[in-house]
Symmetry: C2
Subunit: 238 residues, 2 copies
């Protein structure tokens, strides 16, 4: 693709402020898309991540960063939105393992649905999501079968799907390990100190080091043989 | 099912305040479900419909009525959320016809996704939606193929689908004409004067009589040979 903005295609990218969505956005930019980043203020405990999403959106150079408010605490059912403690001793989930209490009911479905509406409005036919089914928490809505089913549904649901060019859901990290994701991002020059993965950070974005998301992140840096730039308030659990 | 609440299953029902969702909720109640009604304050121009949804929820006797705020005006792309006039001369859409400007990008996808999250939280394995593909506006997300694809996706997306009993999306009106829906509702004793269909009502819920939704509604009463209890501020367009 050329540098001429008019000739570049647009893509919507889900941006949470963590490693996966940051890397996904960078990969989409590498492919030449004009990026429209979307984040959700869903009354998550780790609302601090929205600050990191904004910093990353600026750093990546998106056309627009939309923060959509949707209070999932009204619905509940997760340690990430309810007054339930985030577990600090959970083993990160595995495919086929039990789905942990940090699972937020239908979260990726809701996020992709709103992203779909925005993509349709913008005339973008690509939605990028940093879903990952290797080093992940066992959430059902991170698996390839879910992404494929969502794409099929999206093309039946929308004017863009029925009358237009169709919608593609791109999950470029879906089969990568966390270490592979980090290695790829570092090659692209990403600064992971801008990202936040912790489910229970303090107001200065210092990570707890104990939740499943911290454990997965730290393990990724160790396995990638890269420095972990995260500031932890407790030594990270191995 | 018995009258014992503990032995009755729960269902989430999408309630907009119009004829279709009112009738759908009544049919779900007839089947014996404990009802959890969900409505959306999405910055629609006809926000007045939320008042009617609340009245109907009370009349039907739901366990809870949840109104979820989600500003789709930030996304735009529809005469129902943007500062574009609601067309007053549009022919109601047809399958295969052009999708009108009152189409809201991905609206039913978003609504069903949030309903899915709530159903999962409640342990409800049914979601009722008043989607209808006969006397409707040609919206792609009202067709049987969309409902089926959403259900398939929902069962891959959620803990309820993967580990639990699964989720069924019920659209009991999908193949009925508006007249058939009204006839069915009247047999159940529904009071359609409580409902509002107009896309451009005034503050007293008086319908414009001219938008595609008014035209479909009035035609339904005429064809059902029933009195139309709607208060119109202009004589309804035939």
């Amino acid at each position: 693709m050329t540098d001429d903005k008019n000739s570049r295609e647009s893509a919507v990218v889900l941006l949470s402020g963590g490693i996966d969505s940051y890397t996904t956005a960078a990969l989409a930019r590498e492919e030449g898309y004009l990026l429209y980043a979307i984040s959700f203020d869903y009354a998550q405990r780790h609302r601090r991540e929205l600050h990191h999403a904004a910093v990353i959106a600026h750093k990546i150079g998106v056309e627009k960063h939309l923060v959509v408010k949707l209070n999932l605490r009204d619905i509940g059912g997760s340690a990430l939105t309810d007054d339930i403690d985030v577990p600090k001793d959970a083993a990160p989930g595995k495919i086929g393992g039990q789905i942990p209490i940090t699972y937020v009911p239908a979260r990726n479905t809701i996020f992709l649905s709103v992203a779909l509406a925005w993509a349709e409005k913008l005339g973008a036919n690509r939605i990028f999501i940093g879903a990952n089914a290797v080093d992940y928490s066992g959430y059902p809505d991170c698996r390839p079968a879910f992404i494929e089913a969502f794409e099929k549904m999206a093309n039946l649901a929308t004017k863009a799907g029925v009358e237009g060019q169709g919608i593609r859901i791109e999950a470029p990290l879906i089969n990568l390990s966390k270490a592979q994701i980090i290695t790829r991002g570092l090659k692209l020059g990403l600064d992971y100190s801008l990202s936040l993965s912790c489910y229970d950070p303090d107001d200065d974005s210092r990570a707890c080091g104990q939740c499943e998301s911290c454990v997965l992140r730290h393990k990724g840096f160790v396995e990638a043989k890269a420095d972990d730039p995260t500031i932890y308030r407790h030594p990270p659990r191995e």
